[in-house]
Symmetry: C2
Subunit: 282 residues, 2 copies
């Protein structure tokens, strides 16, 4: 199988490395905006050749993975209208991605099987890629009514070969779930660091920040452009989550103002119990 | 030197283990509310004997460490009015602790040198204690005007022996700094897990939560009673921080509503840069 990867970063690079390691693909063409990153992708063996653009990369490929920030998808889909390959993606949002694909691909939409590997890191670029990135992680595949069974099966198998566990959702459900457990926490972490960093005494504040702050804000070291695109693409759902959370903070504020230690302790104990249950079961 | 530890948990147990390992203390008396935990403290060699109450533990000790949740301090100070030992503590708040000490100890306040080791974990109890917990970590010592130089020196040296780096602040400054970089993030993490856990589809939400959510919420597995006491003790400062953060989220909400990708990316990039600078310098 010949693979084309559009956006050879952490995700695209890891997908290529994993499929190559499993000998599931014989040849990988890479496309990207950063020549130094593409050069490193060649050196790391993630890709075999560099193509000048998505259309060139897709030519002769059996499978195309789009793994750029989702804001670039409309342009990429528009350049894939002649592609004969099966197309999948790794975008963190699915409603906007499917809408962009439908608009650009028309009847060729049957060739596009959307997916989202729930694996990432705050590091980015092919330098951070690893054949092991997806091992044991979930990949949500959100097939379209137009997809053939064989097309979905091929995409499922590619991700399974990377070691991932496949889940099914529809794009709406996917975006709602991810807004709550991924997109919102990223926004909250970025906001906290931003709020601390702009203060006059930020050097002192950072000096006394410890492990709790470090872990809470790890995702605030994530890729700004990628997260800009996710926030914009999923902003309706994200705004809904942000408002729910602001309302939750409003309740917490009332408990603090009332000095209601018993209610705070109950809230904390419930959260701890829920989290520990999740950690032990996952 | 003979040590008494009131509250032989993660912090108290680690302090005792570190000083014993360094042969800086010859004998440790422990006091606590949980007999099973005290038994484990004996078995782990953190303490040599169990005393029935703080007054009994302090009798014959050279140094007393109070390492319970701060809500218990007023009662503990009240039972130490006859103590001849030097007293220090490990509370995460300092204004309330100093006020409680002044009220209970009167002229004996000179015997109390407040401190706060900025080291912790979401695990609690002596089972999680380690002689290495404080190595390379900061301990804020907030000496009082009444303390002698020798008293402060002895407390500094005890923490230095544990491998910690000593910093000085006054209690007000300490509580303001910690509210921003520790107390607020804990509250935010508890609130997020609480908000997710109470939903109808919480099982699905947790199933698709990944590494970002796990690290963001690690501190939501912290000790509920300890954090109840911290929030109540420092609620003035914490409310101030909570309101600043809510206002920050309000700004982020406006950017989202306006679909202002450029401003969001700028905010994310600034946060990432500030965090990475901190991580690389710490």
């Amino acid at each position: 199988m010949k693979l084309a990867v559009i956006g050879v970063g952490l995700i695209g690079g890891s997908f290529a490395l994993a499929l190559k390691q499993a000998k599931a693909v014989s040849h990988v063409t890479g496309v990207g905006r950063d020549p130094a990153n593409l050069q490193l992708a060649l050196e790391r063996g993630a890709i075999d050749v560099i193509a000048p653009d998505p259309a060139g990369a897709a030519r002769g490929a059996d499978l195309v993975l789009i793994a750029t920030p989702v804001g670039q998808y409309p342009k990429i889909f528009a350049s894939l209208t002649d592609a004969k390959a099966l197309i999948t993606d790794a975008g963190s949002t699915k409603r906007d991605v499917v809408a962009a694909a439908r608009k650009a691909l028309g009847k060729k939409i049957s060739q596009f099987v959307p997916a989202h590997p729930i694996a990432g890191a705050e590091r980015s670029g092919v330098a951070a890629a690893s054949a092991e990135l997806f091992r044991g992680k979930r990949v949500v595949v959100t097939p379209l009514g137009e997809n053939t069974k064989d097309a979905v099966k091929l995409v499922d198998e590619a991700w399974s070969t990377c070691g991932a566990r496949i889940s099914r959702m529809d794009p709406d459900e996917h975006d709602a779930v991810l807004a709550a457990v991924s997109h919102l926490p990223h926004l909250l972490a970025f906001a906290l660091v931003h709020e601390v960093a702009r203060r006059e005494n930020s050097a002192q504040l950072f000096a006394f920040a410890a492990g709790g702050f470090r872990d809470f804000t790890r995702i605030a070291s994530s890729h700004p452009e990628m997260w800009r695109d996710i926030c914009i693409a999923n902003r309706e759902r994200l705004l809904h989550e942000l408002k729910s959370y602001a309302s939750e903070l409003g309740s917490v504020q009332k408990l603090l103002e009332a000095g209601d230690g018993a209610a705070l302790e109950k809230l904390f104990a419930g959260a701890r119990e829920a989290r520990n249950k999740w950690i032990h079961s996952s």
